[in-house]
């Protein structure tokens, strides 16, 4: 009761009180409503109640009682679980119309509301304190009060706009992409539910509520990766994603327990205040940050927990774009930015974040160099780019990491949706000729630019953006990360710390170097992907070629919007050396949330000098151009052959194609031993062998033996039993009363 009253008291003075911002609860609730409607439609279209007595459904009574319901099930709308290889003509789902309106509709409304709240925030002038709305008490236990509370500040507003904005575009794209799928409303139900949880994640006012969103998006990811669940590969991938994420979630949970133990708070404001009493760089704050980062490594696919993300490409492509590129996987970056106060107090933890981020960036980029599946290239690219974001937020340059999060959402969503458009076209072509070749393998593509020019041009924009060519969006954000890292290597609290006896500045310069090499690889593998997909001769097949065509407008429309955003997204936060508009707008916007922590890390040092900055930028551009040039000059699309005629790779190429065999290593060293020990030692050994075999049944034999002795004395065994029982009870009682 008391915290609620306090909320009322403080809310009265907040500039957002009485504005449309008070409707912020509706932003996530609209997608939830969409989920309910689409979910109901989905179940309604496939559910046929079984017979009253299920036992009679089999055997002689079959077909009498159930009036063909059993058969109806096999022909249900959602029954075929159409995989990508379903070549039979599919009738559109009977609720496709409603789902097409409700699914994207709720996202459009949600985005409009978020935009209106954004305008209200801009109009409200300087807003230093977060706008916190408490709805009800969620877990009140003893002196712990965890409320269902949303927190609106500059950071959550930014994330809300990205989630609803990009989410809206991807929902629209899905109307076209999923049009023939028998599970159409189910798809939108899951997608809506995902957006709901993602919004809970970014709007939550405390860690446990954030955790609802955190695991909720994981559930939706699980459901959507395994959307075409009749294929074992897909349901395996969904399960793997969830379990690997749970490893990270253990870290998140322990971090929360430690926060409560040491700061007695779990809401952001309370933790921010409680942090003041902890020693700078102390073991507590460092451990909390490291455990939180374990959670981030799971959700955001960093070493050593990245392995689920490439497999997650088994889901439909819009899912890859929304969940596994633009939003969910960036949640870890958001979490660190949200916990900036603690991280800025733990330089060692920051070093770990930066190093893991840099290693992931280069490691994933190297795998991306040799992938043939177009979505796998993009998946490893995402892992690599997330590494950059962690370099940003890890080095205390929070704005740069968040800036890259936003631009990456634009260009990576565009790349994934573009690849979706390509796969869509490939499918249709194969569909017409009943061909069962791999529609995602780049060796089966080539020369697509003449068949799908819109997709072609837009994907080049995105490629230049991610490669870091000015003036596209990725150039500005990646440059800010690397520039910020360089500045912090020169002077910062992190540079003054040390890890494994090596000074922080050394680590940071090392990370900077890795970042540069990864940037070079990024430019190379992206160009490679573009060359193999769109340039050179077409390898799809003689008959199929005639059916290749551009996607419908409902799909290309969102691509165009994302293309524009990828081109101009850099304007959000222009650097001082390129005053093409307002400089540092995003930095200024986020200042109330992360400004103090950023300054703390910089420990009084200014940004790098202009001349050094020009040098760094020059190097970055050279590297990007060099990477593109390398791919452009060395790769020969003419010599490629379709997948089924291709020879297997050898040497190091084989290692790369097989992703350094990390999955195999994990299987052999972790999964198989756990299962083996559980089955052999624990279940068969201890449970069946020791406890039951020796203990329980052993004492049964003993009892039988004693009983046999007893039976030698007397024949009326029942009576004996009763007497012995009574005697035993009396004996024990007596023993105690005598003492």
């Amino acid at each position: 009761m008391i915290p609620l009253l306090q909320a009322a008291a403080t809310a009265g003075t907040h500039p957002l009180t009485g504005t449309i911002a008070e409707w912020v609860w509706l932003v996530p609730l609209l997608p939830l409503l969409g989920f309910v409607i689409n979910g109901a439609l989905s179940l309604a279209s496939v559910f046929h109640a079984g017979p009253g007595d299920p036992a009679l459904a089999h055997g002689e009574a079959h077909g009498v009682d159930d009036g063909g319901h059993g058969h109806a099930a096999a022909h249900d709308d959602d029954a075929h679980g159409a995989t990508g290889d379903d070549h039979h003509p599919v009738v559109r789902h009977r609720f496709a119309g409603v789902a097409s309106i409700v699914g994207p509709g709720v996202l459009i409304l949600s985005f409009l509301l978020a935009a209106a709240i954004f305008l209200a925030m801009r109009g409200a002038g300087e807003m230093t304190a977060p706008f916190i709305q408490r709805y009800f008490s969620w877990m009140p236990v003893g002196d712990m009060h965890i409320d269902a509370a949303f927190q609106l500040d500059q950071l959550s507003m930014m994330m809300t706009l990205v989630v609803t904005g990009v989410g809206m575009l991807i929902h629209l794209f899905s109307v076209g992409y999923m049009q023939d799928d028998p599970g159409y409303p189910r798809f939108f139900a899951y997608l809506n539910l995902f957006v709901f949880f993602m919004l809970v994640l970014v709007l939550a006012g405390n860690y446990p509520l954030l955790f609802i969103g955190w695991e909720g998006v994981g559930v939706c990811s699980y459901l959507l990766i395994g959307f075409w669940f009749s294929d074992k590969v897909n349901s395996d991938a969904g399960k793997k994603a969830f379990i690997v994420n749970r490893i990270g979630d253990v870290g998140f949970l322990i971090a929360m327990f430690m926060m409560f133990a040491n700061m007695h708070a779990l809401d952001f404001t309370g933790v921010r205040e409680g942090a003041a009493s902890l020693p700078f760089g102390g073991i507590v704050v460092t451990t909390i940050c490291l455990f939180l980062f374990l959670g981030c490594a799971g959700k955001s696919a960093q070493i050593p927990l990245y392995t689920w993300l490439p497999d997650a490409m088994a889901g439909p492509t819009p899912v890859s774009a929304l969940i596994h590129a633009a939003t969910m996987v960036t949640a870890g970056v958001y979490l660190i930015a949200r916990t900036n106060v603690l991280f800025s107090m733990a330089p060692v933890a920051q070093l770990v974040v930066v190093i893991i981020g840099a290693l992931t960036a280069i490691f994933a980029a190297s795998i991306g160099l040799k992938q043939w599946d177009i979505k796998k290239v993009l998946a490893y690219s995402t892992v690599s780019q997330l590494g950059y974001m962690f370099i940003g937020v890890g080095s205390g340059a929070y704005v740069s990491g968040l800036f890259h999060l936003v631009t990456h959402a634009f260009f990576k969503a565009l790349l994934f949706l573009g690849s979706g458009s390509v796969i869509f076209a490939m499918h249709r072509a194969y569909h017409h000729t009943d061909n069962h070749d791999d529609a995602q393998d780049m060796r089966n593509m080539g020369g697509l630019k003449q068949y799908m020019p819109v997709t072609f041009w837009l994907m080049w924009i995105a490629t230049l953006a991610i490669a870091g060519i000015p003036p596209f969006a990725g150039f500005f954000s990646k440059d800010e990360i690397l520039g910020g890292l360089f500045a912090r290597a020169q002077h910062s609290t992190i540079a003054s710390a040390s890890l494994f006896g090596i000074p922080g500045s050394g680590w940071l310069y090392f990370a900077y170097l890795l970042g540069l090499v990864a940037a070079f690889m990024t430019a190379t593998y992206m160009t490679r992907m573009m060359i193999y997909t769109f340039h050179g001769p077409n390898r799809t097949g003689e008959k199929e070629r005639g059916h290749l065509a551009e996607a419908p407008w409902i799909m290309t429309g969102p691509l165009v919007v994302l293309g524009i955003l990828s081109a101009i997204g850099g304007w959000l936060n222009l650097p001082e050396f390129a005053p093409l508009g307002r400089v540092g707008a995003l930095e200024h916007w986020l200042d109330p949330v992360v400004g103090e922590s950023t300054a703390r890390v910089m420990a009084g040092a200014g940004e790098t000098s202009a001349s050094l900055e020009y040098t760094l930028v020059g190097v970055a551009i050279l590297i990007a151009v060099g990477g593109i040039a390398l791919a452009w000059t060395r790769l020969k699309p003419e010599s490629l052959v379709p997948k089924r005629e291709a020879a297997p790779e050898e040497g190091f190429e084989k290692v790369l194609v097989n992703k350094y065999y990390v999955d195999e290593i994990y299987d052999k060293t972790i999964v198989e031993p756990v299962v083996g020990v559980s089955r052999g030692l624990l279940w068969r050994g201890i449970d069946a062998g020791l406890i039951d075999g020796v203990g329980v049944n052993g004492s049964a034999y003993l009892a039988r033996f004693v009983g046999w002795i007893g039976s030698q004395f007397q024949s009326g065994q029942l009576g004996t039993y009763a007497w012995v029982l009574v005697a035993g009870v009396l004996a024990v009682l007596g023993a105690f009363s005598i003492r």
């Binding site: 079984g50 299920p54 036992a55 099930a73 877990m139 236990v141 712990m144 009749s230 299962v675």
Partner: protein, 532 residues
Amino acid sequence: MNALLTSIGYTHWILPALLIIPLIGAAVIWLLGARGGGAGGDEVVSGVAATPRMVALVTFAVEFIVSLGLWWSFDPGNNAWQSVVDYAWIPSWGIRFTIGVDGIAVMMVLLTTFIMLLAVGGSWTSIRARSHSYYALLLVLTTGMLGVFLSLDLFLFYVMWEVMLIPMYFIIGIWGGDRRIYASLKFFIYTMVGSLLMLVAIIYLGLAARDPATGIPTFAYDYVLQNAMVTSTAAKWLFGAFFLAFAVKVPMFPFHTWLPDAHVEAPTAGSVVLASIMLKLGTFGFLRLAVPLFPSAAMDPTIRGIILGLAVIGIVYGALVSLVQPDFKKLVAYSSVSHLGFVMLGIFALTVQSVQGALMVMINHGISTGALFFLIGMIYERRHTRLIDAYGGIARVVPMFAAILTIVTFSSIGVPGTNGFIGEFLVLLGSFQTQPVLSVIATTVVIISAAYLLWAIQRILFNPLDKRENEHIPDLNRRELAIMVPLVAAIVWLGVYPAPVLRRMEGAATKFVNMVDARRNLLTTGVAEAER
């Protein structure tokens, strides 16, 4: 609502009514059965089962509706026993019939009446022989279980404890699967060994609290709690006796091996009752008797360490063994060992959060694992196998079953937003404050629990539909939906808005923690009061 309840004198009659209503139902069924039933054959088809199951359904419905009043009539701000009814039963032995509730008991009673009502639905077509006896036993069982939760007299507690044991023994032994005799005997002997020792301990305590003038023993809970004088050595032995009785019931590792057998062999409703309610009687026993009566023994560093250790071993062990079970019912049975380990960890970590969490796990496990057993029973009725490998890809064929099983799975693995999360989170967060290492070990089990259940439902619901027998399984019928929908609703409600439940249990949980904490360092139970 409260005014209405007061006007009908609700608090004066509700608790005895809850014990009597099932007995009346049972009597009616027995009388009807004596006249008509027992013709043999399939009683569902022949219609013989129609009357007893209807009587049972009506009785349980009345029981549930009547019990709902407790939600409002219970005053969370009042820490005394509420709705107390007290009669002298065997005065010469000092045995009284005293029943009453605190916040813990209220929630357990509501859970019991709720689950029992659904359990009738789960038996509807699965019990096809001797249905009169079956439903009558189910009703008697309910009186026994409720009696344990309500008893405020130690002797009455023991009687009720035995009353619930015997019907369950028959339910497993008569309506169970192929190895039912082995399973029911194992269940009976395991439980009996424990409860006999408990009887001895109760008698000892009653004598220790006897009236010095008349020499008549006393079994009244509050009186014993304050006045029973025992030495610390005796306290350890007595605690040991209670511990054995309750640890078997929980079941704690390594006393758990009766559980997988009993679960697998029991009929659906038997498994549901066993998991949802009877296991809770073990942890309830720790909360009500074993720990408050002997805080010095229970909180003795060695004893406490052993119990906490066994709890965490159970958590990890149960999860790992679940991972490799080929039988879905056995998998869920072992997962209960893991879940109940959380309850024990929460109780013995002794913080308000961990105890509240333990109580939430008790409720949540009742709902989620009950729901899993219902679902297993439903699919078993269709395919007559519980082997996971016999299924595969059936989500296409039975989409409603698949949707509900998926939701229940998420609840069971503690996904936030479902009930399962609240309990686990509070237990782990609370335990971390006093037992950080054990809490961290237990936390890692969220990975294994996700693995065993998701792997299981993948092999049942997802993957290719590659077996012909599975192609025409009928989906849930309306009766089965009516069972599952309330459970799913409870899963969401308790996950999103558990505050009303937590508020009702807060007083009792805090009282438990404070009392045990205050008296743990005293050598003997009751001496503190005597010295004061």
